[in-house]
Amino acid sequence: MCQFENGAFQKKESSNFDFSISKFSNYQIFKLVTMNLKLKIWRQKGPKDNGKMVDYPISGISPDMSFLEMMDVLNDQLVEKGDLPVAFDHDCREGICGSCSMYINGEPHGPGRGITTCQLHMRSFTDGDTIHIEPWRAAAFPVIKDLVTDRSAFDRIIQAGGFISVNSGSPVDANAIPIDKHDSDRAFDAATCIGCGACVAACKNASAMLFTSAKVSHLSLLPQGQVEARDRVLAMINQMDEEGFGNCTNTGACEVECPKGISIENIARMNRQYLGAAISYSPPKATGGGD
């Protein structure tokens, strides 16, 4: 923590930061540090437009801004000039929704680990930097406009098998089904996937294996997910291939760039389950009674 005392700016290892005005009253000079940056942003009018990188110099950016706030400032300036603002996805701005898909300076969600673009702060850059901003690039994620891509391929993968079939009825008692703590931890780790698509964006093959394996794992690790485990893994991988994602070559880039730290051990688990199901299982067809 920082504290102003007797004309000196001191760093203190204290959590009791005193915000009282009297502490600051002797200070006449508060220098506001701002940054001037050169942005290179992908502009594309629509899905069929070729698109190109466009330069936008921007000034007066506070290091404390989030990256999306910087984009807001840019868009304000563009609107004031009568230009079209840069279209980009955003929603919660707290790292939960997975909307803010931007490939910044050659990495999904920019520099820094375990963060989404909205959690990236401008202090990660220095005055005078050039920042390249592009949309996710994958055949399965077509660009709709500027930095906005269509990620509904992920929805269709989940629809293919990322669920458990439970007939509604009275609620089951808590802890009625014993679950190993380690399994529940691993299932929860996998379930933290927010479906942002950074794994696909980072992968040199535009593979969706980390996403799909996280969705497979978070269900198949739990007893409730066992019933449909074999159908699920076959259907979800089949859908993943149909969407046009590439294959996993185990570079590990997805794991490094994942804002939620999803491990590639999930990919191994999915491979294991897929091999088992593909070799030993053929989905039965109902011959009577069922639909």
Binding site: G246, N250, A253
Partner: protein
């Protein structure tokens, strides 16, 4: 890819065990090596293994090519600015290029030794050694006395080393063989394999060039 790749790792160990006999450059070593070469080309069980090896190489190469083409299609428009070095290793990103280099090497290598051993004319004066076996030992000695071949061989061993650096543990991961206790051991074994095996392969021609 994983199954054939890991099988080819085992093949490399067997191949290396045979090659290490080439450190014996004297007459006795020559006779022993030629006897070994005859055994390797005629013994039925070894023949079965060798056909499995040919199949693995061809399958691994064709499957790798098809997967690479499919993976390229998955990203038709690339990034204007990308920093893959921030999140992945050089060998992991360049398996196809390293594999292609190895394929070129395998063709060169087999045309030099394998074809000659099986059917071709040996480019030495006497084709048969004192025991009446085809004199592969002299062919090897002759080849490794050529500087360009020694350099190409050594460089290809570097490519194989990089390929194995990623490929060994990647094979286990693709087969789903991942475990918190054993994966670190597999990774370390893979790194050791990727350094030691190509290094031993590569030292042989250098040794023969200088001391053979």
């Amino acid at each position: 890819m994983a199954a054939t790749g890991l099988f080819l790792c085992i093949f490399l160990l067997g191949h290396l065990a045979g090659n290490l006999q080439l450190f014996m450059t004297d007459e006795a070593g020559k006779l022993q090596f030629n006897e070994y070469a005859k055994f390797m080309t005629t013994f039925p069980a070894v023949k079965i293994l060798s056909y499995l090896t040919y199949f693995s190489i061809v399958f691994h190469a064709i499957d790798g090519l098809l997967l690479t083409l499919k993976n390229r299609k998955a990203r038709p428009v690339g990034y204007a600015y990308s920093r893959p070095d921030k999140n992945s290793s050089f060998p992991a990103r360049n398996m196809a290029i390293l594999g292609s280099l190895m394929l070129v090497f395998i063709v060169l290598h087999m045309s030099n030794f394998w074809v000659k051993m099986h059917w071709g004319e040996l480019n030495v004066d006497i084709w048969l050694d004192a025991n009446g076996n085809r004199d592969l030992h002299s062919v090897v000695m002759h080849s490794f006395k050529q500087l360009w071949y020694v350099i190409v061989y050594a460089l290809c061993m570097v490519a194989i080393g990089f390929h194995l650096w990623h490929g060994f543990q990647s094979g286990f991961q693709s087969l789903g063989l991942n475990h918190p206790r054993y994966t670190p051991i597999v990774e370390k074994t893979g790194y050791a394999f990727a350094v030691i095996v190509p290094a031993l392969f590569g030292i042989i021609p250098v040794y023969i060039y200088f001391f053979g």
